[in-house]
């Protein structure tokens, strides 16, 4: 009897190769951990080697990690924060049993992975992209900074709200035109957004209207959506929900919208504030 079955037995390269040969997406596979460490108190970094994710991940897409403990079945979704060559950076905090186990992983260990998953931010327009992240909602918007940094037709502004330590500012510095951040003690991201309104207006006048890309706690995102409404800015929000599969098979991860219950994992995680009915 083999009870340990829920762990993938297939290496990343082999799975990806087979999938691509037959025109499919690769299923669950084992990735090598390149680096594991701490970015700030309670904020961990995990860098996995996954050429497929590295090649394909778009901003706000996520990957599922699976605990090695076969008694923990469900996926643990994490936004792809950065991509370097075939290395993929995830940034997370400990929320429960699964993330607690991930903190024990070290370089050379293996972890089961699926992805990239989900509908990314829409970055088609020429605009001033304002990345509004709160807490561990920052990692999912980070990749937008990296992706946009290569384009001439956009400006990248960040407005990150940290609990205390500014764990991501250095990491995104190279990608951002106008970096801003705030800690809980100093205020919240709405305060921060308000303070940079003149800057945003200037950019808008220069032909780069603001498009807000946001991820964070729900109350924060609702406030961001309303802020966007007040300031006439398009707002794209990356949501979180408890997931059963992460790839659209189970309909567990719904969010209530005026158009009905949508899947966060496949219809999202990115929704516009209009889709969600979060604008007043």
């Amino acid at each position: 009897m083999t009870e340990e079955r829920f762990m993938s037995t297939a290496t990343s390269a082999a799975v990806v190769q087979e999938a691509e040969r037959f025109g499919r997406k690769p299923g669950r596979r084992v990735d090598e951990i390149v680096r594991a460490g701490t970015l700030a108190e309670g904020v961990y970094e995990l860098v996995i080697r996954d050429a497929y994710v590295a090649r394909n991940a778009k901003p706000a897409q996520f990957v599922n990690l699976y605990p090695a403990d076969a008694s923990l079945l469900l996926p643990r979704p994490f936004g792809v924060a950065e991509v370097t060559g075939d290395e993929v950076t995830l940034i997370y905090q400990v929320a429960g049993a699964g993330t607690r186990q991930f903190t024990q992983l070290a370089a050379g260990d293996a972890v089961d992975v699926l992805g990239p998953l989900g509908k990314p931010f829409d970055l088609d327009k020429s605009a001033n992209y304002v990345l509004v992240g709160g807490g561990l909602g920052i990692p999912p918007v980070m990749l937008a900074a990296q992706a946009l940094s290569v384009r001439d037709d956009v400006t990248v502004t960040t407005a990150f709200g940290y609990r205390n330590e500014r764990f991501a500012d250095d990491l995104v510095a190279q990608y951002v035109d106008a970096p801003h951040s705030i800690t809980n003690e100093e205020g919240n991201v709405i305060d921060l957004l308000d303070s940079i309104v003149p800057e945003l207006e200037a950019a808008a006048k220069a032909g780069r209207p603001p498009i807000v890309l946001s991820c964070g706690p729900t109350p924060m995102m609702k406030a961001v959506a309303q802020w966007g409404g007040r300031h006439g800015a398009e707002v794209q929000l990356s949501l979180e929900a408890r997931m059963g599969c992460g790839y659209g098979a189970c309909v567990a991860c719904v969010v209530d919208t005026p158009q009905g219950r949508l899947k966060v994992c496949k219809d999202g995680p990115v929704f516009t504030s209009e889709q969600l009915g979060w604008v007043v």
């Binding site: 340990e4 079955r5 762990m7 037995t9 290496t11 079945l73 469900l74 408890r242 098979a249």
Partner: protein, 318 residues
Amino acid sequence: MTATVRPSEPMNVIEPHEWRHGTVVAGVKWKNPVGTASGTFQLDACGDYYDVTQMGAICTKGVSPVPWEGNPGPRIAESPAGMVNSVGLQNPGVDHYLADELPKLKELGALVITNVAGHSDEDYAEVTAKLADSDADMLEINVSCPNVSHGGMSVGTDPATLSRLIGRLRKMTDKPMIVKLSPNVTDIVTIAHAAVDAGADALSLINTLVGMRIDIDTGKPIMANRTGGVSGPAVLPIGLGFVWRVRQAIPDIPIIGIGGIDSGEKALEYLYAGANAVEVGAAALTDPTAPMRVARELDDLLDSRPDLAAKLAQGKSW
């Protein structure tokens, strides 16, 4: 630090395969004895990962007469080696199914089991009527969801109610009709007999077990619907126990074994317990390619079990 066993030679699971061991369920030939389980397969999601025509059968999500919005979120919680879901049969309704998912599946060439959901006898009848002339290869009547018109009790837990419903549906279609039974019952054998006597061509079991989890930080249930259905490896011995008991009581009815299957070995346990085929549910959520892997592993395992393989090919069980 502890160890996990990771065989170094992974099996290729999605490449086209010459299936060596098929099965026959209620007269319908499956190329292998492994199907997807209802509610854990959606063509637009799972089809990205493997060729759905390679499965023994594709059992679709529950289809209701009109679109259902299901239960509010959160809809899922984890449990040791298991999961608890309260999706509540969210689906776009039978008309959408007939216009969209079914033709797509049939165009590809999949063997399709359409799972039929309802809140009342009327509901089931309405869906069955519309499916009667469809391209669906088999119907699976899910009689283990709360039945509003019968005082909140499930159709699948009362033999008389079940008998009446199945008898009615039986008259509406010649399609092979599978009745999917609930494990939340005192006496599965009486219920199985009721379904068979009323005209079921096959039985599938088990559906999920009622369960819940509580968030100790809030003191409240994790799922908005409070309770839900437990599935996954945790329910494996329970599913096997149900299949075994029904097989002991009814020697000839085709049975599809479901519950906690995530490997060829576990599928094989169900076949030895008396199933003619199996469906893979929760495992597919944890790895989209799991149903294909189970089918491939089982095909290998059956090579060294010619007696069992021969029985399956003849539509018989162990």
